[in-house]
């Protein structure tokens, strides 16, 4: 027993000693995680299934179209609902029309919830909202290949707060335009 404990303690000590040596990032290494190239580095490729492969690689966020309703990128929802309401329908219709006439343009729909309840269940609710917008876009002319979804659940609030004013701004889907798909990813500047 004592021997085991000693080994454990030594292991702990090694970790604390060895770990901090690696504190400094490698020269030139980025602390940012916004690196599409990372997909290649995680070369185990485990689980990156074929259905997904077509959507990976060039998810560079771009400004996208402007003017009128196209400048609006956020659809809001009622509590516990994934129904698109009021002006949200007009915003979705405008983006659907744009996507239908720009078939190489792609968007990512980011679903979000307010922060009440459990986190992974909220991921499910946020996805449901993103899928609701995705279906509406596709019904109005966008194609499946043009629209991907991600749910951030309650993890990326637009507004911080514990009241309905904050919550109502967080129950949303954001439309993010992406760089051209089906081609090589934009060249990253070398540093």
């Amino acid at each position: 027993m004592r021997k085991i404990l000693m080994v454990l303690m030594l292991a702990t000590a090694l970790v604390s000693a060895g770990g901090c040596a690696s504190k400094k990032p490698k020269p030139g290494a980025s602390q940012s995680t916004e690196v599409g190239a990372n997909n290649g580095a995680d070369s185990s490729g485990a689980g990156a299934d074929a259905a997904n492969a077509g959507n990976v690689g060039s998810d560079e966020d771009v400004a996208g179209p402007t003017g009128g309703l196209l400048a609006k990128r956020v659809i809001y929802f009622d509590f516990d609902s994934s129904d698109i309401k009021g002006e949200g329908n007009d915003v979705v219709a405008a983006h659907a029309k744009y996507l239908a006439s720009h078939t190489s343009t792609r968007v990512r729909l980011e679903g979000n919830t307010d922060d009440r309840g459990s986190r992974e269940y909220n991921i499910g609710l946020g996805e449901r909202r993103a899928q609701s917008v995705r279906r509406a876009l596709m019904l109005q002319g966008a194609t499946e290949a043009q629209v991907t979804t991600v749910s951030y659940g309650a993890e990326r609030p637009a507004v911080v707060g514990n009241d309905e004013a904050a919550w109502s701004k967080n129950r949303r889907v954001e439309i993010v335009y992406l760089g051209p798909g089906g081609q090589a990813a934009p060249v990253q500047p070398q540093r």
Partner: protein, 435 residues
């Protein structure tokens, strides 16, 4: 747990592995409520080699025991003497000071640079030596040795295995989008000795320990979509195990360490529960329902998975056998919101988030009779996680607009708060006993 498939391991530049976190981020324990009759105990400062200014072992032990809510430690200024050997303890002095037990100890340098921590636990009322033990390690392992002293004292007096020498993982968040900073942190169960495991500008979620305490699984959105990783805590080596279309969420290790239960949403966005075998990458689908099925957790025997589903309207907890073809059985019936199940190590208690008169709180359901008890008192409490000894649940709660970690004993009598000076901490995952 072994991952011996020849896959490419990477340790990316976005990690600062195993590094101490500045003092401002430390968690401080505050007892919010305790038992009416805590055991009075005196933990006398341990003898140290001359000129040794290392860790105050007795103080760590005092902090552990006092922080458990089941002990009341005698202040040093009230101590009648400072014995460090059991035969130097004058029992009547300590009895008169109102103590039931006394701990004395010594830190002894050994050849080769190691230290021995010797301690004795004495019953002041009977005069008997209840326990005595030696822990040996490097000077940097002193804190762990102190937690092991606490474990022995706790078990000898209360008859329950101590869980002070265990670790927790949790998520820390600073700032607002788009300038958020997410950190995955591992610390001792008392919140000290923090180590940064991973840092990202995009959400990190749902840490879960492997049963051997060597690995963490978690969800990272670092590529602007969800993916599940497993990471060796000691070295930082990690491996992406699922980056399928749609949701990759809620990973939890199987009791045998060979599989992950997880949630996959697919491109059509229908979250269901799957089991992924880590070595073979074989994937088995357990649920198939248009509702949200998520937040799986294993029964300790590995035969069942409990999960959240809103197939009946609001979220409730269901159980399904891991063999394909089993049908889910509903487990919770009290109230209209029950989510995020976790089971105690003996499989008897189910902890969950429940909606309790407008407040999201931690509750436990006795699986033998279905009785539900609400344990926490906040309004946005979440992510309950059992200590490996089953006596305590750690969870996150809100203080103003930020999340802090708290614990509550399963009998609801003892509440603690682990306060961090700034930032938000959440999603605690209590690791297993050290092996």
């Amino acid at each position: 747990m072994r991952l011996n498939k020849p896959v490419a391991y990477i340790a990316t530049a976005l990690m600062a592995i195993g590094c101490a976190i500045p003092a401002w981020a430390q968690l401080k324990i505050e007892v919010t409520n305790g038992v009416a009759d805590p055991v009075p105990i005196a933990i006398v400062p341990f003898a140290k080699p001359p000129a040794d200014n290392s860790l105050d072992v007795a103080q760590v032990v005092e902090h552990d025991l006092q922080g458990s809510g089941r002990f009341r430690a005698l202040a040093r200024t009230q101590m009648p003497a400072s014995p460090t050997q059991p035969n130097a303890v004058v029992m009547t002095d300590w009895k008169n000071a109102g103590e039931d037990y006394i701990v004395v100890g010594r830190i002894v340098p050994l050849d080769g640079g190691n230290l021995a921590v010797d301690f004795d636990l004495l019953n002041v009322l009977t005069g008997q030596r209840v326990a005595g033990q030696r822990f040996v390690g490097t000077p940097s392992a002193l804190r762990n040795a102190a937690h092991r002293v606490s474990d022995v004292v706790y078990e000898k007096i209360l008859g329950i295995r101590g869980a002070f020498a265990t670790r927790i993982a949790y998520v820390s968040v600073e700032g607002q989008p788009p300038a958020q900073k997410f950190q995955l942190i591992v610390a001792d169960a008392d919140g000290e000795n923090q180590r940064l495991v991973l840092e990202s500008r995009y959400p990190l979620m749902s840490p879960s320990w492997s049963p051997d305490g060597q690995w963490l699984s978690y969800v990272s959105f670092e590529n602007k979509r969800s993916a599940i990783y497993v990471q060796l805590v000691r070295s930082g080596e990690r491996r992406q195990v699922s980056a399928r279309a749609g949701i990759n969420g809620a990973p939890v290790w199987s009791p045998d360490g060979k599989k992950l239960a997880l949630t996959l949403g697919g491109s059509s966005g229908n979250p269901d529960i799957y089991v992924l075998e880590l070595q073979t990458q074989n994937l088995a689908r357990l649920t198939e329902d248009p509702s949200i099925d998520t937040e799986p957790c294993w029964s300790p025997d590995g035969k069942f998975i409990y999960f959240t589903s809103d197939r009946a309207g609001g979220p409730q907890i269901y159980r399904i056998g891991v063999n394909p073809g089993d049908r889910p059985k509903r487990i919770t019936f009290t109230g209209n919101y029950n989510a995020r199940p976790r089971l105690s190590a003996d499989g008897n208690l189910l902890a969950m988030v429940t909606l309790d008169s407008g407040n999201y709180r931690v509750a436990v359901q006795d699986l033998s009779n279905g009785n539900v008890r609400v344990l926490s008192k906040g309004h946005l409490d979440e992510s309950p996680s059992f200590a490996p000894n089953g006596s305590t649940i750690m969870f996150s709660e809100r203080e103003g607009n930020r999340g802090i970690l708290a614990t509550v004993s399963v009998d609801g009598l003892i509440g603690l708060r682990l306060k961090s000076e700034q930032g938000e901490v959440r999603e605690p995952a209590w690791g297993p006993f050290a092996q």
